[in-house]
């Protein structure tokens, strides 16, 4: 009898303990906002993961402060154009994220593509929407001799350097050629579209053409030295990730922006291409974007072939790189049908104010872009890599909202963001 009296409360106690254990195990606990895998992705997108600016062995003055000072002057100088009105900064406007707000860039004429941003390009391997250049300096030289952009010639530009920048130029690069000898150095000469200018170039002695091209190359290398200082700045997204990885509750993003971020790294598959701290894999993809300018734009299939024979590529005589430093070019994929209709994946950092969007300004707003990617329509060239996402209007709005959180001024001194 006495034993029973002891057993009953004991059984009750054991039962209660068991119930407590079950309750603790089964009780719904708040789920962490981000899984361990999500946190890895967030950290990879964070500006803290960007790393230092990589060296550019193809440009021996890439990190020369004197070259950067000269490069900034050249970048903003409209005298390097056929009509005296076009500088690099005419399209790459610092107040518009180094773009111009136009669907297709306008210089002396109109191009067939949108102006690309400058900030962050010191991390790039390929340049232009089709990747037809492989360094910042080679990129800078393209528009200078394009008939639709600066529309001048390297012969004219060498004369302009001699007239306005002789001392600065020679302090960095050594003596200019004897440009006052008009018989050897015509006022307008270069391998350009204009037949008279091209003919004058062809009539020049080979060593004089080389001397002019060397000046032209040095202009590009100085411009690169300037552009390397224009680094991407920290956005609200970056502040949010800094909080999250440190285990702090963050108020940097709204609930809608967080929802958009979750879709961005999740079911919307944006990070398939917009991955890494620049929100781009630096490669080329066919997303079926409609043509935006007259004529067919084949994209990367043309650019990949062009860069292999580019006068100024990493393996050219004008590059300062050893051939062993040109692996991107050595292992370049060119000629493959997969490249048809591919365009460069742009960085999404500070994207919100850079419209109109895509390679020829096909979409006026980011909402249009997200709606297009949601539908994944067939494109005009090759085969789109996209598949329909089936997002709701609310989900699309969330993604657009998140992209606003990537706004950030460049990480560069204010004096670099205006004409010197």
């Amino acid at each position: 009898m006495r034993a029973w009296r002891l057993l009953i409360p004991g059984a009750i106690a054991v039962g209660a303990a068991a119930l407590l254990v079950v309750a603790v195990v089964l009780w719904p606990r708040p789920q962490p906002l981000w899984s361990a895998s999500d946190l890895v992705t967030l950290r990879s997108l964070w500006i803290g993961s960007l790393g230092p600016v990589p060296s550019d062995p193809s440009n021996r003055v890439a990190d020369d402060a004197r070259a950067a000072v000269l490069g900034q002057k050249l970048f903003f100088d409209t005298r390097f154009s056929a009509n005296g009105q076009v500088s690099c900064a005419a399209c790459h406007q610092a107040t518009r994220g180094f773009t111009d707000g136009l669907a297709q860039a306008k210089g002396v004429g109109t191009t067939n593509r949108t102006t690309m941003p400058i900030v962050g390009t010191q991390y790039n391997t390929w340049f232009f929407w089709d990747g037809r250049k492989d360094s910042q300096w080679a990129q800078a030289l393209g528009p200078l001799e394009s008939a639709d952009e600066h529309a001048g010639s390297r012969g004219e530009y060498a004369q302009t350097i001699a007239k306005f920048y002789k001392a600065e130029y020679e302090a960095i690069f050594g003596p200019l050629p004897p440009l006052s000898d008009a018989a050897r150095f015509p006022a307008k000469a270069g391998p350009v579209k204009d037949p008279a200018t091209h003919a004058a170039w062809d009539r020049m002695r080979a060593d004089d053409r080389e001397a002019i091209t060397q000046v032209y190359v040095n202009m590009g290398k100085a411009i690169e030295a300037y552009e390397r200082a224009l680094k991407p700045g920290s956005s609200r997204f970056d502040l949010y990730v800094a909080d999250v990885v440190a285990g702090r509750t963050s108020t940097q993003l709204s609930a809608q922006e967080v929802a958009g971020l979750r879709l961005f790294i999740g079911v919307a598959h944006c990070t398939n291409c917009h991955n890494g701290a620049l929100f781009t894999n630096g490669e080329f993809h066919n997303t079926g974007v409609p043509e935006g300018a007259p004529g067919a734009d084949l994209g990367r299939i043309g650019g990949a072939s062009a860069v292999t024979v580019d006068e100024f590529n990493c393996l050219s005589k004008w590059s300062d790189a050893a051939p062993s430093a040109c692996n991107a070019l050595k292992f370049l994929k060119a000629g493959a049908e997969q490249l048809r209709g591919q365009f460069k994946v742009p960085s999404l950092r500070d994207v919100a104010d850079r419209g109109p969007f895509m390679h020829a300004g096909q979409f006026a707003t980011l909402a249009d872009v997200v709606a297009f990617y949601d539908k994944a329509a067939a494109g005009p060239q090759g085969k789109t890599e996209l598949k329909p996402l089936g997002l709701s209007a609310e989900q699309r709005d969330s993604i657009v909202s998140f992209l606003q959180a990537l706004k950030a001024p460049p990480d560069a001194p204010a004096q670099l963001l205006r004409a010197p």
Partner: protein
């Protein structure tokens, strides 16, 4: 034991059992383990591979090494290797055009390997040696 643990155990058992076999299924995608010998599609060659960076990163050029033996286990020293690859259902292919060069003793260095997305991938090797040709698919996942 939750579903994730069960899957991991199944995967571990599958990997352990792979031995000299071919790819194993992991979360629905085949994975060809590094360092194990895999027969080519028609058994002409026996191949193993390894990567210079582990785990394989995205957007970073690196090298792979491949060792090729014939069906009798003798090193194949004069093979030419064509390299291609893609992600199932994507269609963009590799972002680069990797090249293979012989290191001697049946070893080959695959240079210019790069992958631009995380997810499931395959690399196809078309191996030609001594008048014979065969292919090998290497499956892997970048997480």
């Amino acid at each position: 034991m939750n579903r994730r643990v069960v899957l991991m155990l199944v995967a571990a058992l599958a990997l352990a059992g792979a031995g000299a076999g071919a790819s194993v299924l992991l979360r629905g995608h085949a994975v060809t383990p590094t360092g194990t010998v895999v027969p080519s599609a028609h058994g002409v060659f026996r191949v193993s591979y390894d990567t210079s960076l582990r785990p394989i990163p995205i957007n970073t050029m690196h090298t792979w090494t491949v060792h090729i033996d014939d069906a009798d286990g003798r090193p194949v020293t004069d093979a030419t290797i064509q390299i291609s690859g893609d992600m199932p259902g994507h269609g963009h292919g590799l972002p680069t055009a990797p090249q293979a060069r012989a290191l001697g003793g049946g070893d080959y260095l695959l240079e210019g390997m790069q992958f631009q997305m995380s997810g499931d991938w395959y690399v196809d090797l078309e191996i030609q040696a001594a008048g014979k040709i065969d292919t090998l698919r290497i499956d892997f996942t970048i997480s």
